[in-house]
């Protein structure tokens, strides 16, 4: 099932399916790329940022940024 990264639940894992073109280059250097395993490490309340884990590195993304990433979850 596909969903937006922003919609993933706490501790849910998935595979990055699609990243909006403008964002792709910005997050590529941090290891977030299509085909990668991604885990939702934390979600902050009241539309705060999310923290995701890729390759054992934690990255914080604003919720609006997380909406631009599509994830395939099991």
């Amino acid at each position: 099932m596909e969903k937006k990264l922003s919609e993933m639940d706490f501790d849910e894992e998935g595979t990055v399916k699609e990243i909006e073109e403008t964002l792709r280059k910005q997050v590529a250097g941090m290891g977030i790329r299509e085909g990668k395993n991604i885990r939702m490490a934390t979600k902050q309340p009241i539309k705060g940022p999310v923290v995701v884990e890729v390759d054992e590195s934690l990255t914080s993304l604003g919720l609006g940024v997380a909406e631009k990433i599509v994830v395939e979850v099991g």
């Binding site: 792709r24 990255t59 914080s60 604003g62």
Partner: protein
Amino acid sequence: MPLSVDERWNLIEKISKQTVEFGARKHTLKDAIAELTVKPLTGIPVAIAVLYGIWSFFVDFAGTLFTDGFMVRLFDEHWLPFLQNAFHNNLDNWAYRLFIDAGHIENGVLVASDNCLEAFGVLTSGFFVPFGVVLWAVLAFYLMFALLEDVGYLPRLAVLVDTVLHKIGLHGYAIVPTFLSLGCNVPGVTATRALETRKQRFLMITLLSVFVPCGAQIGIMQDLVPELMGWIFLTLAIGYLGFGFILNKIVPGKSPEIIMDVPPYRMPMMKNIVSKLWVRTSRFLLVAVPFVLLGCLIVGLMYLTGAMDWLATVLGPFLMSWFGVPEETVSPLIAGFLRKDLAVGMLGGLMEQGIMTTFQVFTSVVLLCIYFPCLATFALMLKEENWKEFLGSIASLVAMVLVYGGLIHLVGIMLEVA
């Protein structure tokens, strides 16, 4: 030929497959802590504990141990009496009043001061404020900041506060300039350079210069009115968030969302911390000390020439009716243009003479925080912002001081404490 993002990653994966071997991955305690401190349910209590720890250290180390335990005694019991005796308590001499002891009126008679806050000479208050109080406060603060920075805690704090700060047009990352400003506004304003858009920088600089008191000021406030500190911080925080929210709506421009690496924790290195502490503290002294001395001199001259009395008469009625503070606060407000710590020190002198109610003390201290950034910060704002932004900052500053100062007075009247 540059590769596309996908081509580059494909190449890296190919290289990595041939050269890197990932052994069994074990989750360590460090990994667990790394995550727990950024999760809201566990992270927020930890953040509060950390901030409270910093505050306690600040109060105990700087306030109780160095200032009260050592410096106050050194300055009030030795340095001041030494100078007073050496120059025969010559209150009739203008140079004596300017450099050693301005004295104060008690029952209609000019009498000698018994502490370095009231004396207000260049050689007494001028040295007591920066070296007796402020240096220790700033040192304690920068030590804590360098530790948090080197351990890698700041990015986690940034994530936790991003929720709130994004609503006022800033990043969680804005916690760094805000935090630095609590030491001294000058490096705080400089740190806004890391923010992305001009709008974010403008918002941050304006809010910093108005609502974030510097370590110097906090140190001396804690020394004078420890019982009011909670209320003062609450009032400033409400102002920071409230006016931030309004400015974010008014100011045009973009507030991009956060994309930030959250690094693992590390052991801080002593050498790194010491060198940071040295650089930051010495820079602070270079900025602060000349201004404090100059401030003492100017305020002293204004008293001697009668300019201060004249200003007090002219501005007094406005201060009394709008903000509800007595005309005597004119002199600290003038000194505050140069140095806030010096100004709060002068308020301390007024308090000891017993001419202000507690609420008036509270209002004056808050007013001193917000009414004008100190000269050093002001000069830096001129440098960092373009003309339009600078005028915008000043206009917002004036509006915020009038509205917020008036509002505090109003609340005071309604609570019947003003």
